[in-house]
């Protein structure tokens, strides 16, 4: 078919397709991206940015208020009950919490999507096994599972991240399985299989991009959940152990000084709120952006 000379066709009135309107990035999304970039920079350059080591005590400046509430520039965000610099602790906490939240979200998404695709591809027994696991996970109170695991295996950061990664994988598995089954029984996935594509190509090249928008929304919902879960576990003393610190950890310990020194708690709380909001905004925008039919 390739031997048809290109000049044989009457030159069609080539009307170039209308230039795709470049949608402007909304202001809020720009702000969200900036904030997330800032968070990443802080996380990666924590050692360079923090003015003090996060464990350094300054006993003469205990519970010193931040600048703007009568504090001094030495401790811009104030100090806590032991005289530790809140800014330095915040920077270390951001690194720790982002590591946990991104790591756990990635683990649960990869695990869930993989199991979901396996179930959709093999059907039969594999599917039943995956669905049984999903039901088990969904019906098990996660805190109890986490308590049991941490009690038996002790607390280590990699284990903690993996454990949080187990939280919520069943949602990805359900979504991935459902959408892959419906794509496979009729439509584009069946068509590509009919062309002779390997399962890797069908799932990696076609099914995954098509269900990515749903997965991204699910991930943006799970990300704040994991930050909050980490806060909860840290608050119970099961998460990040002192003297190491995380955002949830800071909120938990700052609670005791809520009336006298609210800045200890307010600083990490606002970081949690703004970060989760930014992730949601960015995820929403990305979902629309990645869909050619919505552009």
């Amino acid at each position: 078919m390739s031997d048809i000379p290109l000049s044989a066709m009457p030159a069609p009135a080539v009307s170039a397709p209308p230039a795709r309107r470049q949608a402007r990035v909304p202001v809020l999304v720009v702000l969200a991206i900036l904030w997330l970039v800032l968070m990443l920079v802080v996380a990666f350059a924590a050692d360079l940015l923090s003015p003090f080591p996060y464990t350094a005590l300054d006993l003469r400046n205990r519970l010193s208020p931040p600048v703007g509430m009568g504090g001094v520039w030495l401790h811009a965000l104030g100090t806590d009950e032991l005289g530790r610099d809140v800014l330095s602790r915040l920077i270390t906490s951001i690194r720790m919490s982002l590591l946990i939240a991104f790591g756990a979200t990635a683990i649960s998404a990869v695990l869930g999507v993989t199991l979901g695709f396996l179930a959709a591809h093999f059907r039969g027994l594999v599917e039943q096994a995956v669905l049984a696991l999903v039901d088990f996970q969904a019906s098990m109170p996660f805190l109890i599972l986490a308590l049991a695991v941490l009690a038996f295996f002790g607390n280590a950061l990699p284990l903690f991240i993996c454990l949080l990664g187990l939280n919520g994988w069943e949602r990805y598995a359900r979504i991935a399985r459902g959408l892959a089954v419906s794509a496979g029984s009729q439509g584009y996935a069946a068509a590509v299989t009919g062309l002779g594509a390997s399962p890797w190509r069908v799932y990696g090249r076609h099914v995954l991009p098509n269900i990515a928008s749903t997965l991204i929304v699910s991930m943006t919902l799970a990300f704040p959940e994991i930050i909050l879960l980490e806060s909860g576990l840290s608050f119970l003393g099961l998460g990040v152990q002192p003297p190491m610190t995380s955002l949830g950890n800071m909120v938990g310990y700052g609670r005791e000084y809520l009336t006298r020194a609210p800045w200890i708690l307010l600083a990490p709380s606002s970081v949690i709120v703004i970060t989760t909001l930014s992730v949601s905004l960015l995820g929403d925008w990305l979902r629309d952006r990645l869909d050619p039919t919505l552009r």
Binding site: G187, Y188, A191, P292, T293
Partner: protein, 339 residues
């Protein structure tokens, strides 16, 4: 191009599904396809007609090897069809392709047309990365699309253009066999003619064999070298399109043909009485006998075989048409009616 070489032979294909009625119902067996034999020659088109649910599409999927028949066998180019998912089966995909009823559903809406047309080339390692854009351009031109439409997404094209894109993708590997499953029924009437002409053109140019599945008798007559009429999972009549669609021998084919509207014609339409066929409760004997206007008593007992009629050598599965039974007046509660 229209050599008599057999490309595909399907023998006694049977496909059963089990279906459960209600939550506690007993599983019921549905015979979607019940002993269909087909032969396709290189460069020729076999039209497959019948009402919805008669097993046309299932037959098409089995012929392509997408579904495994419960019994019977398929030989493609004198080799047995390998089981789905095996490497041999995957390699065979380059030699047979499918054109779908719903082109929007068959295309990935996140990839542009050019990428999707190039995909069979990538899968089967045809050509080099560098010459693929040129091949895609030639393919698009050969189905009447503009090369710049390679950058369009499926939702940006019209129905007819999408079907052309699906066809370009199917033709990318220069297959020997094309199964067209109702390729025009989702299109406007004006576009239908264009797509049919395109299919004929492609066939003349590349010598591809086609299985053209449709319920549109006129489309089948225009496209096909041979026609098979299916009823409830069986072929009831097969032959040249002019014979089958002008003077059908089987009572069901007669009713089907009489349903083609003709301008200015009044009366003469055979309206079948009785329920539409239900593959779960298949009647004994000839599956058509409860609705047949000329059924005799033997029709309720014995399944007629598809064989040559002694009179003129036409392939038909009917006791009455074969002259084995005198035409009855239909069995009770059936009648022929002119409308």
């Amino acid at each position: 191009m229209t050599g008599d070489e057999t490309l595909l032979h399907a023998q006694d294909l049977v496909r059963r599904y089990t279906m459960r009625r209600g939550m506690f119902g007993r599983p019921v067996e549905v015979r979607a396809v019940d002993g269909v034999s087909l032969t396709l020659r290189r460069g020729q088109t076999l039209g497959l007609v019948g009402e919805s649910g008669c097993g046309k599409s299932t037959t098409g999927r089995m012929v392509l090897g997408l579904e495994v028949p419960d019994s019977g066998g398929i030989a493609f180019a004198n080799e047995r069809m390998p089981p789905p998912g095996t490497p041999e089966w995957r390699r065979l995909r380059a030699r047979m392709a499918m054109v779908y009823q719903d082109p929007l559903g068959a295309l990935d809406r996140r990839l542009d047309i050019g990428t999707q047309v190039a995909e069979p080339l990538e899968i089967h390692g045809i050509g080099t990365r560098a010459d693929r854009p040129g091949r895609v351009e030639a393919l698009l031109r050969s189905v009447g699309l503009r090369p710049d439409q390679a950058r369009r997404y499926p939702h940006e094209l019209s129905g007819g253009q999408r079907q052309r894109a699906v066809l370009a993708r199917a033709l990318a590997t220069s297959p020997d066999l094309l199964v067209c499953d109702e390729p025009i029924s989702a299109l406007d009437v004006s576009i239908q003619a264009q797509v049919m002409n395109l299919l004929s053109e492609v066939q003349q140019r590349s010598g591809v064999a086609m299985l053209f599945i449709s319920h549109d008798l006129r489309a089948v007559r225009q496209m096909s070298h041979r026609v098979a009429v299916m009823y409830l999972g069986r072929v009831v009549e097969e032959g040249e399109p002019d014979e089958v669609l002008h003077s059908p021998a089987h009572p069901y084919a007669q009713a089907l043909v009489s349903a083609i509207p003709h301008p200015g014609r009044r009366g003469g339409r055979i309206v079948l009485r009785g329920d539409p066929p239900n593959p779960v409760a298949r009647p004994a004997g000839c599956a058509f006998h409860p609705r047949c206007p000329v059924a005799a008593s033997v029709c309720a007992r014995e399944v007629p075989a598809l064989k040559r009629r002694p009179l003129d050598g036409r392939l038909v599965a009917c006791h009455v048409a074969q002259g084995e039974a005198a035409p009855g007046a239909g069995l009770p509660q059936n009648a022929m009616e002119a409308a």
